[in-house]
Symmetry: C2
Subunit: 620 residues, 2 copies
């Protein structure tokens, strides 16, 4: 029944041979890899304004110069990644680049930063996407947390079914979003030039703290740090180079340039319009929505803008649902995470990673009440930490290779590392108390966890290794013949007969034991033994405290003590298996308890014992 | 660690030999067995008034004649039970009497009614006890649910530790309660006669519906039905006859008479005082508390009254904690309930029954918001159903025996059965919509559950029975020698070596199988096989859908199909066992999954297979 339900929800399992490697044209690759980056224009300007408004609406004018600086930073970062693409044509995520060039610890730090970031991308994109919808339909505002969780659930479900990164599927919403945004900017500027565009009415600024603070350098830097979320997702292309058509690196490079041009245009365009229209951030409506209503009115174009925004944000979340499970699987392959994360599910996706991401991001949404601006202080830290480590790694990379033009290439990446490093410090300094500390706490915890897991796997491998053993001379454990066999019986029934016969065929040294919990039951067994006991000696174990388990464990320990020369002890457990699951509730399940104690209770599991289950299946 | 915690909380385990059989004097027996019955005077009058006030405060005067009728009913019921005591000197609970004389179904119905009733006794006593406390300390009123749960938890804990039904322990609060109640009545009547007692001030009656209904016969009957809760617990002595000193039946009979006299006096006394003082039921203060404050003032005597009331109600709940586990164990012994309920815990008590009762009664308290009067409509149904069945059973009993005076004895019990049966109908009719339907729904469900459980145990016994087998000619399953042994390996390591060697010692027909999930891993294994495989053939199983489990199960099915003449198949599972519990999270636990599928998945478990676990314990 569970299997049927799974098949309906997830779809029929796919054979491993169906693992396809779609190659993408530049146009489609842009759609697939840029949704994360482009979608950030939906909230980056607003996040800047939300900080500036703390110093009053007069401070909002600073958003424009800050946006220009951010666009400049974007160009520097893009130039760096352009080089990464050519330096790592097989795909250069921050974990790989940092691990290869800077060593294990920076690599793990980058991996921890990336994983945190993927989780935050899902949470931020989901909340911002739902904000686009609640801006158009304010009645839905009270349900934003539920809507976010529903969105995450749907994305996770689609990924468990195995959405291919199908170019076509992504092309429509991505290019739709680009088109309607460019149209918004163009129409806005034209109407502005022709004087037909009015400013937004002086609205009550929803933020209660509006004007509560002085306009300090610190506040400006904080606005800058918030605006830097526009850069998130720029690294996506450099991770996905193998998906491009050959020549992969060149095509990827060109796609990166196109993406950055679009991103810079849209970000600056929205920032300009927000400024000239005098938009202030509101609790119940996004900045983009306010601009859209002013420029397009409330007609179909406005609704299309909101729909496209919501849709691209869903796609951005979807990007993380590709990246997180993939990075987890790589880390698990390298033994830094549980190996279950490398298992491909029925639909060839890393199902455990998808489930994990959905759970973590949902938890974030709930904790932060589905509000984008409360998540933002946590967001950019991981991104810029991985940017910095990755760029620094590239500097090292060029230095190690010393190929053509290496000092120039190292300089470009060095500038990138420096710029992103400085931004990282700004972000940490300005947003520490607002939430960045959470990420700064989580990253070392993750790194420590990676290390501990790796150490465990290493210890296991060492203990199981055949290293130093010789096949010809290996004797290992004693074999069956020198073993003592103990059959734990509870009563004389058909299941017992089968187990006794099996035990007798194993060894000449067989003893049956019964624990005397209920004297009446024990007497019945002892009476039947001469006829049915198959000549095996029966020992009755006292149980003053009425436990079935402890006397058997004690007996086995005693056997070990008195016959240390003997090899492994063999425990035979007759177990009748009820026909239906609920029947288990009606039985004592002593066999199961004995098995678990022998396998997993340390004080008893330290001995070499073979456990033999002789099941007797009930039919009804 | 868990074992240590258990020892601290529950105490050191007691050996079975310590099972004591204390015999009680009449004075102590009265204390032990009457707390349930006597404690009901704490709420019975109030519950009557709560119904009458619906027809306005003028209707409260009817409480006195109703109380007199109830006292009469009490005498009839007591006379019936007096006879039960002499008819069943070894203890005649309703289940036993009805089962013996009326048959299985009436017996099970009585058992279901009793179990429901025990749960309700705990819930009602806990809520009424806490009401006595919140009447004195109204600040605690908002926490009444929490306080009730705490009280139940404490009683359950004390019972898990094994409170003996120690006469001394019970004597002080029970006789204290009786004394202070008799003092209250005496002082009240004296002050009334001397004219020094004033009526309660005309207070605002808290019940919003006060006076909302007409004074119909139905309402009067409903008040009567609520007042009948005073009779709950009268049956306790007849259950516990073996605890009396010899001559048991005679002593028990005398104790019953003493209890009934006390109960009738206290119930009538409180009802009279409530009437003459003009007490009306209030939301925040019990009727007894109002009377107490008027008679005693708010000094130490009043506080002693409240404390004694709370204490005896706790003891009443405690009575159920003896009765419920005991009845469950009897039902489980008769195979009507899971046999785990017959297990005696560390302290020789039926620990599972105690835990079950605590959980069920806590759930009731939460569902009904800790309010006694909302629980009352459910309460009396079970009591009177078991009264009626038990008395009817006694009529049959006398008829079967036809001893001395049997028509007279049968007539007394017949009158009891008739009276309680009529009251049962009145209770059901008047309280059906207020909650009695819940109990009327639960009782048949319980009976059906008893029947289903019994049928299962019967089916198991039949399937396991040796009936019809002959020890000399029994062959049963094939032995090891004709068996095929399959070793499921995942890689070549020390654990595998041990398992292979063990398998080889079992049979000549051994095959190792590996599931090809990761080609790299498989290749490594195949390469090492010639050197380390101990000449056992290795089969590589394809796994197009990447499952480890399914190909192994399919292989075993195929073996079964192609070699049907073979006996049982033996599956050997090498299993390395991590040193620490959290390590399990880092491993795929395939061996565990295979074991579970072979044992418990119906489509695979239907074959005769022996499962051999060869554990390899990691040390770190």
């Amino acid at each position: 029944m569970f299997a049927d339900l799974r098949r309906i929800l997830i779809g029929a399992p796919l054979p491993s041979a169906r693992m396809a490697h779609e190659r993408l044209s530049k146009v489609r690759a842009l759609a697939v890899f840029s949704s994360d980056a482009l979608s950030s224009v939906a909230y980056a300007t607003e996040e800047m304004l939300l900080v500036l408004v703390l110093a009053g609406t007069g401070a909002l004018g600073l958003s424009l110069p800050i946006a220009v600086v951010i666009a400049g930073l974007l160009v520097i970062v893009a130039a760096s990644y352009y080089q990464t693409i050519h330096g790592y044509p097989s795909g250069g995520g921050a974990y790989i680049v940092a691990h290869d060039n800077l060593g294990v610890w920076p690599g793990l730090t980058a991996a921890a930063a990336l994983l945190t970031d993927y989780v935050l991308t899902v949470a931020v994109s989901a909340t911002a996407g739902i904000a686009a919808i609640t801006s158009a339909f304010p009645a839905l505002l009270p349900y934003r947390v539920e809507l976010c969780l529903l969105a995450i659930l749907l994305i996770a479900w689609a990924n468990l079914r195995g959405v291919r990164e199908s170019g076509t599927l992504f092309a429509i919403p991505t290019y739709g979003f680009v088109l309607i945004f460019l149209a918004l900017i163009a129409v806005g500027l034209v109407r502005l030039a022709t004087g037909t565009l009015n400013s937004v009415d002086a609205q009550v600024v929803a933020t209660a703290e509006s004007g509560a603070q002085a306009l300090t350098l610190f506040l400006i830097l904080r606005a800058f740090a918030s605006g830097c979320t526009a850069l998130t997702g720029v690294e996506a292309i450099s991770n996905g180079i193998p998906a491009f058509r050959p020549p992969e690196a060149r095509n990827a490079g060109k796609t990166l340039v196109a993406m950055v041009v679009l991103l810079a245009t849209m970000f600056l365009g929205i920032s300009v319009l927000a400024r000239v229209l005098g938009v202030a951030p509101l609790e119940h409506e996004t900045v983009v929505s306010q601009i859209g209503r002013q420029v397009f009115g409330t007609g179909p174009l406005y609704l299309a803008l909101q729909a496209a925004t919501a849709l691209i944000l869903v796609l951005a979340a979807n990007t993380s649902f590709a990246g997180f499970p993939w990075l987890s699987a790589i880390l698990a392959r390298d033994r830094y995470l549980p190996r279950q994360l490398t298992n491909r599910g029925d639909r060839l996706v890393f199902a455990n990673g998808i489930a994990l991401l959905a759970i973590l991001s949902s938890a974030l949404v709930v904790v932060f009440g589905g509000q984008t601006h409360r998540l933002i202080p946590l967001y950019a830290v991981g991104v810029f930490l991985s940017f910095t480590l990755s760029q620094a790694g590239m500097v090292r990379h060029w230095y190690k290779l010393r190929g053509q033009n290496w000092p120039w290439k190292a300089a470009v990446n060095g500038l990138g590392a420096l710029a992103t490093g400085v931004v990282l410090l700004v972000i940490v300094a300005t947003k520490f108390v607002h939430g960045a500390w959470v990420v700064l706490l989580l990253i070392p915890i993750f790194v420590w966890m990676f290390h501990t897991i790796r150490r465990h796997y290493h210890a296991v491998a060492e203990q199981l290794s055949l290293e130093g053993l010789q096949p010809e001379t290996w004797t290992g454990l004693a074999t069956r013949k020198r073993s003592k066999v103990v059959v734990a019986v509870s009563g004389m029934h058909r299941g017992t007969l089968v187990a006794l016969r099996f035990a007798r065929s194993l060894s000449k040294d067989v003893t049956a034991v019964v624990v005397d919990v209920d004297p009446e039951v024990t007497t019945r067994l002892v009476d039947k033994w001469p006829a049915w006991g198959q000549k095996i000696p029966l020992e009755v174990l006292e149980s003053p405290y009425r436990s079935t388990l402890e006397p058997i464990l004690a007996y086995l320990d005693e056997v070990d003590r008195f016959e240390p020369e003997r090899g492994l002890a063999i425990v035979v457990l007759p177990e009748f298996v009820p026909a239906r699951r609920w029947h288990h509730l009606l039985h004592n399940q002593t066999a199961r308890l004995i098995k678990q104690a022998l396998l997993y209770r340390r004080e008893h599991s330290d001995k070499d014992r073979v456990i033999i289950d002789v099941p007797y299946h009930l039919r009804r």
